[in-house]
Symmetry: C2
Subunit: 357 residues, 2 copies
């Protein structure tokens, strides 16, 4: 049976101060009237029932996650004791799925992505499931055809076509966050895709592949498998999970495995990775501004301005800024200065001003 695993434990620092430690961006309404996490579950309607939907998150966000998803069984919200990147996260999820359903097929979804339209998404998932049913070894990556020379995404270069699926290809190689020139070349070839972070594979197959390519993770998962469903699980998880290497599933398995393949996904996709992504998702006006909430501007261009409630944000004579007003923090930043934003957030942490994080 097909199960969905939604990865929802991120902190979303690049969306600070909207995204906060105890309420990161996936738990917030950025677009439309449901949170990104809720939209991720809504999108599964007709594809995966709530009884087969799983969410991996962290201890801090677990309560809010369960509250936002009342239809998902509480025990299927899996809590990571510490963050250990996506390989350990998905290995842990796979073990939970296998305990419930030894034949489980896993659809992996990040909680903080925007995908439209839902219908195209569902068609792609069905095609991915068919690829896995054809060959149980297949690890299917969803590749999004690039629409611009983005430098902030990972790229997948496709290889030979797969038989029987015109949108399916082997994987020739991966390239994480290329420079502008390289990204433009990738865009021109028509044979490269953005790595969406959405995957489909059998749960037993990813556990097998992790054991083969990452023995430390494989051993840790075997330890946990032995205690899953017992009263030793919680204590064992604490010690075992923390000891696992923090590595992405791409680097841990997908980049090395002959069975990785890419499915060209026809939906519009955005990882909403930073403030810069917001205009791509919700659009901008004729001045290039993306304005949300009570905002008034004079001679303003290419700015992202967001306020909440009745608080007025007035902007005069500036361009290329991100301005975000929350109840206790206001951010004013050069739109492309993500390094500066990271530095500021790190400094607040160093200064012990955790209340703002």
């Amino acid at each position: 049976m097909l199960h969905a695993v939604i990865m929802s434990g991120g902190s979303g620092t690049r969306f600070w101060p909207q995204s906060r430690r105890d309420c990161p961006k996936q738990l917030q309404v950025l677009v439309g009237d449901r949170t990104l996490l809720q939209q991720s579950v809504d999108r599964l309607d007709g594809l995966v029932t709530a009884e087969r939907t799983w969410v991996v998150t962290n201890v801090v966000q677990a309560t809010a996650t369960r509250e936002q998803l009342p239809s998902v069984p509480g025990e299927q919200v899996i809590e990571e004791p510490v963050a250990r990147n996506t390989a350990a996260c998905l290995g842990l999820a796979a073990e939970h799925l296998l305990a419930a359903d030894p034949e489980a097929v896993m659809l992996v979804l990040p909680a903080d992505h925007v995908i439209q339209p839902d219908e195209s998404f569902r068609e792609a998932v069905q095609a991915a499931v068919a690829l896995v049913e054809d060959d149980r070894r297949r690890l299917v990556l969803f590749g999004v055809p690039p629409t611009r020379a983005a430098t902030g995404f990972g790229y997948i270069h496709r290889g030979d076509p797969l038989p029987g699926q015109p949108n399916g290809f082997g994987v020739s190689s991966f390239h994480e966050k290329p420079d502008r020139e390289t990204a433009e070349h990738y865009l021109a070839t028509g044979e490269s895709y953005w790595n969406s972070g959405i995957f489909t594979w059998r749960a037993d197959r990813i556990v097998e592949a992790l054991a083969e390519h990452q023995p430390a993770i494989g051993d840790g998962l075997a330890t946990l498998r032995a205690v899953l469903g017992t009263d030793q699980y919680s204590a064992r998880l604490q010690e075992t999970f923390a000891a696992l290497p923090a590595i992405s599933i791409d680097r841990a398995v997908l980049e090395h495995c002959q069975d990785s393949c890419v499915l060209e996904a026809s939906f519009c996709w955005n990882d909403v990775g930073s403030w810069r992504a917001l205009p791509e998702v919700i659009g901008s006006d004729e001045s290039g501004n993306c304005l949300q909430g009570p905002v008034s501007t004079v001679d303003v261009h290419n700015c992202i301005v967001r306020s909440v409630g009745d608080h007025l944000v007035a902007v005069v004579g500036v361009e290329d800024l991100v301005i975000v007003q929350t109840a206790d923090v206001t951010l004013v930043a050069r739109r492309d200065d993500e390094d500066g934003l990271r530095e500021l957030v790190e400094r607040l942490a160093e200064e012990g001003r955790d209340g703002y994080l």
Copy 2:
């Protein structure tokens, strides 16, 4: 006797959103721990008692003005029914003074200026009073030696020296807000002063001069003089004052009168006319930033950032901005775009969003 008349009815639009209609900048703490209005009265200590201190303001600000100045008799807070610029304002004040003291000498002070040190101010006032006592016709303007080629101030060019006062001169001419090149020339000559808006003259003399140079104002004042202290005053003020021409005392009288003279004032002075003036008053750090309240910055230069309470303003990778956080409004503006700020405030008024003004 010497009386002080503090002009305090301004709206301070260029300091929006800190300065608001019902609480303009002179009623707020911008520097130190007392409001600008309170500092204006404090500065008179040893020079003019509270019993001889008068404040002209408008109806909206009258209550707050009396609350901030408990030592000033409530009836000496004169309420203008409408704003009619400084000629009408000072004519009205002069009539009130004359009713209390026919020999009154008037020291005129704007409520929203920063002056330091107080001792130099007091010495200048004493010199001005001496000039008026020497010749009852004299209208003394306080001229501040310019320290930079400011284009936002009015300039006074001095004429012949006055006998017996080394810092006193006749007035050769006036020049309002020169361009940069002209301002630099004025700075170089050493014979031009900033017009501080601080004046000293006999109350009967300014009434006489207004009648001579501005008959409409003279007639209006005569009408009010006849009812001052009676129960007709309030109603008569409403109709008479509104009909007076709105003109500055400089343009109405001082620029035309042979008796205008300028006293070189040795104090540091700033009219705090706009956000740009704040660093001149409270200083800036090695990055050229002027930061007040909970503010955190990364790679920020020549910015004025002000927050209040616990609200954090985080600023990243920008320069030459004014960022002001208040309880219900946040302003982000290019530092020198005062026209844009005025346009924005006017638009809010047009849109009926008066709550933000």
